[in-house]
């Protein structure tokens, strides 16, 4: 009896979600993506990355030297990434778009949020 109720509840919820998806197709189509930025030879690749709010950016350090990806005004930060380590940051609406490596300040890159 109890499990019947649960099942019916899930079915209804599922149907409601489908209806919502159908009635709001634009929203249903937007999927968040994961973007990789590789750090190699003291360069962020790519150095300009186009992203959407809700996407995830993943920095992967391929260098021997430790690096960071840190917003210029320190609004967000991956923390120290040693060789082979990675860290992710989720794109939010008003996040800072210019970033650098705190250990090697000549390393700079930017995000373009649309």
């Amino acid at each position: 009896m109890c499990s019947d109720f649960s099942r019916r509840h899930i079915l209804i919820a599922g149907a409601a979600a489908s209806v919502a998806a159908l009635t709001n197709p634009a929203k249903a189509e937007v999927r968040s993506k994961i973007h990789d930025v590789r750090i190699k030879d003291f360069v962020y690749v790519p150095d300009t990355l186009h992203v959407h709010v809700g996407d995830t950016i993943r920095w992967i350090n391929d260098d021997l030297a430790p690096h960071t990806a840190t917003a210029l005004e320190f609004g967000w930060d991956t923390g120290e990434l040693k060789r082979g380590e990675s860290a992710e940051v989720v794109v939010s609406e008003n996040m800072e778009t210019a970033y650098f490596c705190v250990f090697h300040p000549h390393m700079k890159a930017q995000l373009v949020i649309s």
Binding site: D41, L64, A65, E80, H104, H106
Partner: protein, 197 residues
């Protein structure tokens, strides 16, 4: 040292007459730098003929010296930029040394002490003694200028004399990776020197 200088001038003149090549100019300047490190104890040719395990020892020694300079800067400087730079020197050179030790262990090899490593250490001891007497802006200026000069010298030695003479491919690849890091330090040091003028 005198004998070396004479030899260097002769080689240089002969070579420039024959080809006048830029590459050789670069190589010769690297050898001259190497000779400045080691004084009369070995000739430039001796360095070129060294084994990979001796090169590894020189590189490890050079890394450790820069780490020692950085610890001195952390202890004596009040300049936040100098302190940040020094922390970077510690973390980067430690990362390279860690990779070097990993590779030596993998190859079953041991870094071999030699005259160049000893001369580098001796010179570093003198510099540290001298710098430890300095304070404030005088220290910051001396540290930044020494970092620039030191990276220029070691980079020239690594690029011009060591890398072309390394036998093992993995050791060579590690030196090439290290050189990229040290060239980034050289650029960073250039900015440091400008900022403390």
């Amino acid at each position: 040292m005198v004998a070396f200088k004479g030899c260097y001038a002769l080689v240089y003149r002969t070579y420039m007459r024959e080809t006048g090549g830029l590459l050789m100019k670069k190589l010769i300047s690297a050898l001259a730098v190497a000779a400045a490190f080691i004084g009369a104890q070995a000739t430039a040719q001796d360095i070129a003929n060294m084994s990979d395990t001796e090169f590894a020892h020189i590189a490890y020694t050079a890394d450790n010296i820069d780490i020692r300079y950085a610890h001195l800067a952390l202890a004596l400087s009040d300049n936040p930029e100098i302190k940040k730079f020094a922390k970077t020197m510690i973390s980067d050179h430690e990362a390279v040394n860690e990779a070097a030790l990993e590779l030596l262990a993998k190859l079953g090899a041991t870094a071999q002490d030699n005259a160049v490593s000893q001369a580098l250490n001796e010179r570093a001891d003198n510099i540290i003694n001298e710098f430890s007497q300095l304070r404030g802006a005088a220290f910051d200026k001396a540290y930044a200028e020494n970092e620039l000069a030191y990276h220029q010298e070691v980079n020239a030695l690594v690029e011009g004399t060591m890398i072309p003479n390394i036998d093992n491919a993995e050791v060579k690849a590690l030196f090439e990776q290290g050189l990229k890091i040290f060239k980034a330090h050289e650029k960073h040091a250039e900015m440091m020197v400008k900022s403390v003028q």
